[in-house]
C-alpha cells in the first residue's frame, strides 16, 4: 500500500516501526498537494517549509523516545482556523493579507500532539456556501469529476482527503459544511455536539450553530483525532466542561440491539432515487449487524431550511460587523471619511454571497421585522429540537441520506440562492438542535459517491463513531479513491 493510501492508524504504526520517517511522509504528500493544485484548487496555502520543520522535529522526538500516538502524522486545516504566523483568509478578500498572531485551540492541540500541518484548505467565503464556489480563491473541483463541485463550505478539506493528498483535515459545520462535502467527495466527516470542540480561533459565522470537526478517510481515523481536539476550553464561552471519552476504545462497541431510527422526512420527493437505494442498502447492512430499524417522526424538519436562513444570516450580520477596515483585514483606497472607509472596505472586501447574508440578517433583525422573522425562527427551531428529543426516546441513532443528490455541476446552482440553500435540507436539523452527526460513504449513485448520515443525541459521538466503524468493517466504500488519485 502506498503511503498516501494509509489511514492515520497505519501511518502511526509505520512511523513507530521506522518503515518511513515523518519527513519522508511529509515530502510525499506535499508533492501530491502541489501537483493537484491546477486540477483541484483544494488549498489556499501550502505551508511546505513549516511542515518540513515540524516533521523533522517529530522525527527527532521519536528518535529520543518522546513520540506520542499522533507525532509526525500530517494534517491540513480549513482556512477558517487561525494559525500563528500563517496567513488565515477564511476564503475572503477581506482577510487576504491577514497573518494570524495566534493559533486556534484546535490547531494548538494538534500541534502539541505532534501533528504536522501541511497547508490550509480552500473553502466558501466565511463558510457561506454549499459548493465551494463563493471562495475568493476560486472554486475547488471534485476529485471524482473536475466538472462537479466538491460541496461546501469545507470543500477543500473534503477534496484533499478524497484525493488522498492528506489523511485528515479539520473542518467546520454551521448547516452541513462538514457532512455535505464529505458526502459529495466520498469521505467521512463528523460534526460533534455544539460545545464539544473549542471554537477559540475559529472565525465565527453563526455562533449558535458553528462547530468544528473533522474530515478523514474512516471513522477510526476520526476517532483518533476527535479525542485530541475535544474538551473544555475556558477561552470559548460555549465550550462544555464534560469529560472526553476514549473514542478509539469505543469503536468496537457491538451494534446488536442498536435502534436505528428512520424518519420519513429524510426520504422526501427531492431525494435522488439511486442515492435512496444506497441508503436502504446501508440499512440492511446494519440489520445484518443486529441493529433494529424503528420508525420515527420529525414533523417540523421540513421547516429547517427557512429557519436556518433566518437564524444564520442574523448571527452572521452581527459577527461580521467586526470587519471594519480599521484593525486588520482589507481597507479601501483613499477613504473620504470614516463612513466611506467602513462602507467601501466592506463592500469591496466581501463577496456577493457574504453580502447577501449580511443584508438578509440585517433585515430580519431590523425594527418591525424581528418578531416575524428572527423570533419566529427561534421558536420553530425549538420545535425542531423537540422533535429530535422525542425521536431519541425511540431510537439511539437516526439514519438517512446526508444530501438529496450526489455532486452537481459547477455553476449549476449559483444563479438562484434558494436552490443552493436546499442542498443542506438534511444536514441543517442537527445544527439547529446542537446534535452530533456524521456522514460516511455508502456507495455510488450515477457513478458518484453518496453519503449516509447518522445523527445522535447530544454528546453521543462515541456511539456514532462505533456505528460508522461497524459499517466500515463490513463495507469498503470508504477505501475507494477517485481515478488518478489512488
Amino acid at each position: 500500500m502506498k503511503l498516501h493510501e494509509k489511514g492515520l492508524a497505519a501511518l502511526s504504526a509505520g512511523l513507530r516501526a521506522k518503515e518511513f520517517s515523518s519527513v519522508e511522509l511529509t515530502r510525499h504528500l506535499l508533492q501530491r498537494m502541489e501537483a493537484s493544485q491546477a486540477q483541484l484548487n483544494a488549498f489556499i496555502s501550502i505551508t511546505a517549509e513549516q511542515a518540513l520543520r515540524s516533521a523533522a522535529a517529530a522525527d527527532r522526538a521519536r528518535a529520543s523516545g518522546q513520540a506520542q500516538l499522533l507525532t509526525g502524522l500530517p494534517i491540513v486545516h480549513k482556512d477558517i482556523f487561525c494559525t500563528e504566523g500563517v496567513r488565515t483568509t477564511c476564503g475572503s478578500r477581506m482577510l487576504d493579507n491577514f497573518v494570524s498572531p495566534y493559533d486556534a485551540t484546535v490547531v494548538a492541540k494538534l500541534k502539541s500532539a505532534g501533528m504536522v500541518m501541511l497547508g490550509k484548505t480552500n473553502m466558501d467565503e466565511f463558510a457561506m456556501g454549499s459548493s465551494n464556489e463563493t471562495s475568493f480563491y476560486g472554486p475547488v473541483k471534485n476529485p471524482w469529476n473536475p466538472h462537479l463541485v466538491p460541496g461546501g463550505s469545507s470543500g477543500g478539506s473534503a477534496a484533499a482527503v478524497a484525493a488522498r493528498l492528506a489523511p485528515a483535515a479539520t473542518a467546520t459545520d454551521t448547516g452541513g459544511s462538514i457532512r455535505q462535502p464529505a458526502a459529495l467527495c466520498g469521505v467521512t466527516g463528523i460534526k460533534p455536539t455544539y460545545g464539544r470542540v473549542s471554537r477559540y480561533g475559529m472565525i465565527a459565522f453563526a455562533s449558535s450553530l458553528d462547530q468544528g470537526g473533522l474530515i478523514t478517510a474512516s471513522a477510526e481515523d476520526a476517532a483518533m483525532l476527535l479525542g485530541a481536539i475535544a474538551g473544555f476550553d475556558p477561552r470559548d464561552s460555549t465550550s462544555v466542561d464534560r469529560p472526553v471519552p476514549d473514542y478509539v476504545a469505543g469503536l468496537n462497541a457491538p451494534l446488536a440491539g442498536l435502534r436505528l431510527g428512520i424518519a420519513r422526512e429524510f426520504f422526501d420527493k427531492g431525494l435522488d432515487e439511486a442515492g435512496e437505494q444506497r441508503v436502504r442498502d446501508a440499512l440492511r447492512v446494519y440489520e445484518k449487524l443486529g441493529a433494529r430499524i424503528v420508525d420515527v417522526s420529525l414533523p417540523n424538519l421540513p421547516l429547517s431550511v427557512p429557519t436556518y436562513y433566518v437564524v444564520a444570516p442574523a448571527e452572521c450580520s452581527s459577527n461580521l460587523a467586526r470587519f471594519d477596515g480599521v484593525r486588520y483585514g482589507y481597507r479601501c483606497e483613499n477613504p473620504r471619511d470614516l463612513m466611506d472607509l467602513y462602507r467601501r472596505s466592506r463592500g469591496e472586501g466581501f463577496g456577493a454571497e457574504v453580502k447577501r447574508r449580511i443584508m438578509t440578517g440585517t433585515y430580519v433583525l431590523s425594527e418591525g421585522y424581528y418578531d416575524a422573522y428572527y423570533l419566529q425562527a427561534q421558536k420553530v427551531r425549538q420545535l425542531i429540537a423537540s422533535d429530535f428529543e422525542q425521536a431519541f426516546a425511540e431510537a439511539d441513532v437516526i439514519a438517512g441520506p446526508t444530501t438529496p443528490t450526489p455532486a452537481f455541476e459547477l455553476g449549476s446552482k449559483t444563479a438562484d440562492p434558494i436552490t443552493m440553500y436546499l442542498n443542506d435540507i438534511y444536514t441543517i436539523g442537527a445544527n439547529l438542535a446542537g446534535l452530533p452527526a456524521l456522514s460516511i460513504p455508502c456507495g455510488f449513485a450515477g457513478g458518484l459517491p453518496f453519503g449516509l448520515q447518522l445523527v445522535g443525541p447530544h454528546f453521543s459521538e462515541d456511539r456514532l463513531l462505533a456505528a460508522a466503524h461497524g459499517y466500515q468493517r463490513e463495507t469498503d466504500w470508504h477505501t475507494r479513491a477517485p481515478d488518478g488519485y489512488s
Binding site: Y328, F350, Y363
Partner: protein, 96 residues
C-alpha cells in the same frame, strides 16, 4: 412583496456596505425570494413555544469573573492593521 430599491439601499447603509448600481437589482431579487421563502415559518404553530435560547437544553452562556487574564499583544496585533502610528490605529479625521 418584492423589496424596493430604496429598501435595499437602507439595509446596505445599516450594514455599512457600499453597493454599486449593478448590485442593487440583484439583491432586490434575491433578498425578496429569501424573505418569501422564510415566510413559510409563519405557518408553524408557535403560540406557546419559548424561543430557543441555547442549543443545549438547560444550558446558558457561561460567565467568568471580570478579571484581566490576557497579556498585552498590541504591537503584534497591530502588524495586521492597515495603518498605525505611535501605537494608534489611523482612520480619516472624524472631528473637524
Amino acid at each position: 412583496m418584492p423589496l424596493t430599491r430604496e429598501q435595499i439601499e437602507r439595509i446596505a447603509f445599516l450594514a455599512r456596505l457600499e453597493l454599486n448600481q449593478a448590485e442593487i437589482p440583484v439583491y432586490q431579487a434575491s433578498l425578496s425570494s429569501i424573505l418569501e421563502f422564510a415566510g413559510e415559518l409563519s405557518r408553524a404553530q408557535t403560540r406557546s413555544i419559548e424561543p430557543m435560547a441555547h442549543p443545549l437544553p438547560g444550558l446558558s452562556q457561561r460567565l467568568r469573573a471580570d478579571e484581566v487574564t490576557e497579556s498585552d499583544h498590541r504591537e503584534r496585533y497591530q502588524e495586521n492593521a492597515p495603518r498605525v502610528e505611535a501605537g494608534l490605529y489611523l482612520v480619516p479625521k472624524v472631528i473637524e
